[in-house]
């Protein structure tokens, strides 16, 4: 089964939670990573064999203003379905049009309760991952060489950093 990916701050999703957080609960700071807009939450579908994982991460990195690590959680795509959450294919907003069209999803019609339930379920089921900055840089360079991302959509700072590092 495929999995869903959300970019987060890994430390806010550490299993080792502050002492005031009860088992089965999460610290409230983690919720800020669930950046809901219009009652929708952006997620990316990643194949079971991770075949498209690097491309999705690269697309997310290309959307940044400077190079950085990428923290993310991966959880079973059945998690939102079990909670009765609707998932809809929608175009992503990264400089990688293929990734945008192919793997971007929205969890839609989220209420507060649904979002919290989702956060708790994701926390329990997700693996916490990190792609370090030096890997991100290499992935971006490769994507540019393969014309997978539109350079014109990269931030000037990001592009300058990549060009500097290429020289």
């Amino acid at each position: 089964m495929s999995r869903l990916l959300i970019k987060v701050q890994k430390r806010l999703w550490d299993r080792q939670q502050p002492a005031f957080v009860d088992p089965g609960d999460i610290c409230a700071d983690g919720l800020i990573d669930l950046n809901v807009k219009d009652n929708r939450l952006s997620v990316w579908e990643v194949a079971e064999d991770n075949a498209n994982l690097e491309r999705v991460l690269t697309a997310l990195a290309a959307n940044c203003t400077y190079t950085s690590k990428i923290d993310y959680i991966l959880f079973d795509s059945g998690v939102p379905l079990k909670l009765g959450l609707a998932i809809k294919s929608t175009p992503g907003g990264t400089p990688d049009s293929k990734a945008n069209e192919t793997w971007h999803r929205d969890l839609i019609e989220l209420s507060g309760k649904k979002l919290l339930a989702f956060a708790l379920a994701a926390f329990e089921n997700a693996s916490r991952e990190r792609c370090q900055e030096h890997k991100v840089v290499n992935m971006l360079k490769g994507a540019i060489e393969r014309n997978e991302i539109e350079q014109s959509k990269l931030s000037e700072v990001l592009l300058a950093k990549l060009q500097v590092q290429q020289s």
Binding site: K7, Q9, K10, L12, Q16, I32, D71, V157
Partner: protein, 351 residues
């Protein structure tokens, strides 16, 4: 250069700045909210009049004012006296009304876009109507402004600006530098009073005041950062504010910034963002100082801050920090963070 500017340059060659030109009156006014600044013309010994309601007009000061002045009035009005040249009349203008300027003084936010490249400012210098919001950090002030300027406000800050004068507008070898600002507390002696300006000296004997001001401004930026959501790889408004302030503040900010980052009351997420920003600011802080700040942050009580410090050191390819990272790894109690630090150490060791 326009004829007007050329004429101005010629006239300015006769101008000098000495200790007698500036004095300031910090006597509390009934409103209790403002500072009156008095500009003295040494030739005529006239003072720019400031009344109980502030500066309403400025009489010609014997035809010459040896440097430009910004004066704040009780009306909240900022008057700018243009350089007075023999061929042009002295005048002042009401240039207040720009709310932004007030904000800038209250909060050290200086959007980078406002910092440089505003060609209007040079013109303003010669037309004596200077929107103060354009003043701050405009590089052209360094080129075009050969004197000393005081900006006083009711916001507890006094900004002194003198200039470098290193290019075609250079008219004096006595004046050395740049923009600097001096802050004072309401009950403290105003630096320009206790330590009048001396020709050729830039560092006023008011470093404590200036540092205090910078620290206050940094704290305001940190406080405002708590309102923001941070995301890896995305430039935050907090970081922009920090950079704008630091660029305008000179070299003293590193130590203060490091101290603030270490303090407990500061939000962990803001600290972490600041540390990430420090790791990227290779043009603003010496590498050794940046590494020192990040290494100290490895001992933070917040996993978020420790993580940011470790990531920042790796981002800087700081192999000299491997020992500090190894110590952080050894003492780390958060197993997930411990694993991440280990990966960073392996990266720095080239493994």
């Amino acid at each position: 250069m326009s004829a007007r500017h050329a004429g101005a340059t010629a006239a300015l060659k006769s101008i000098s700045i000495d200790a007698s030109e500036l004095t300031a009156d910090t006597t509390p006014r009934p409103s209790g909210r403002h500072l009156a600044v008095v500009w003295r013309n040494p030739r005529s010994n006239d003072l720019v009049p400031t009344g109980s309601v502030g500066l309403e007009e400025v009489r010609p000061l014997g035809g010459l004012l040896s440097a430009p002045a910004f004066l704040e009035t009780d009306f909240g009005m900022l008057a700018h006296s243009k350089l007075s040249f023999p061929e042009t009349p002295f005048a002042t203008g009401d240039i207040w009304g720009n709310r932004q300027f007030q904000d800038y003084l209250c909060t050290p936010t200086v959007p980078a876009a406002d910092l440089w490249g505003n060609s209007q400012f040079q013109d303003y210098l010669y037309t004596n109507m200077v929107p103060a919001a354009d003043l701050w950090g405009n590089s052209q002030i360094e080129n075009a402004w050969p004197g000393t300027v005081l900006i006083s406000t009711d916001l507890r800050d006094v900004y002194q600006i003198s200039t470098d004068l290193q290019d075609t507008h250079k008219i004096s070898t006595d004046l050395k530098d740049i923009c600097q600002y001096v802050s004072y507390m309401p009950n403290a002696a105003l630096p320009v009073t206790t330590h009048p300006l001396q020709s050729g000296r830039i560092e006023m004997q008011a470093g404590d005041f200036r540092d205090r001001s910078l620290e206050q401004k940094l704290r305001v930026v940190f406080q405002r950062g708590t309102e923001e959501r941070f995301e890896d790889g995305m430039e935050s408004e907090f970081a922009k504010e920090l950079e704008g302030l630091v660029r305008a503040s000179g070299p003293n900010f590193g130590e203060i910034l490091g101290r603030i980052v270490e303090e407990d009351p500061v939000s962990s997420s803001v600290k972490a963002e600041a540390i990430g920003w420090i790791s990227r600011t290779n043009a603003l802080l010496p590498r050794a100082q940046r590494i020192s700040i990040l290494e100290r942050a490895l001992g933070s009580g917040s996993a978020l801050v420790r993580d940011s410090a470790a990531v920042g050191l790796a981002s800087m390819d700081a192999t000299e920090a491997i020992a500090a990272l190894a110590r952080a790894f050894a003492s780390e109690q958060n197993t997930e963070l411990k694993s991440d630090i280990e990966e960073l150490i392996r990266y720095l060791r080239g493994l």
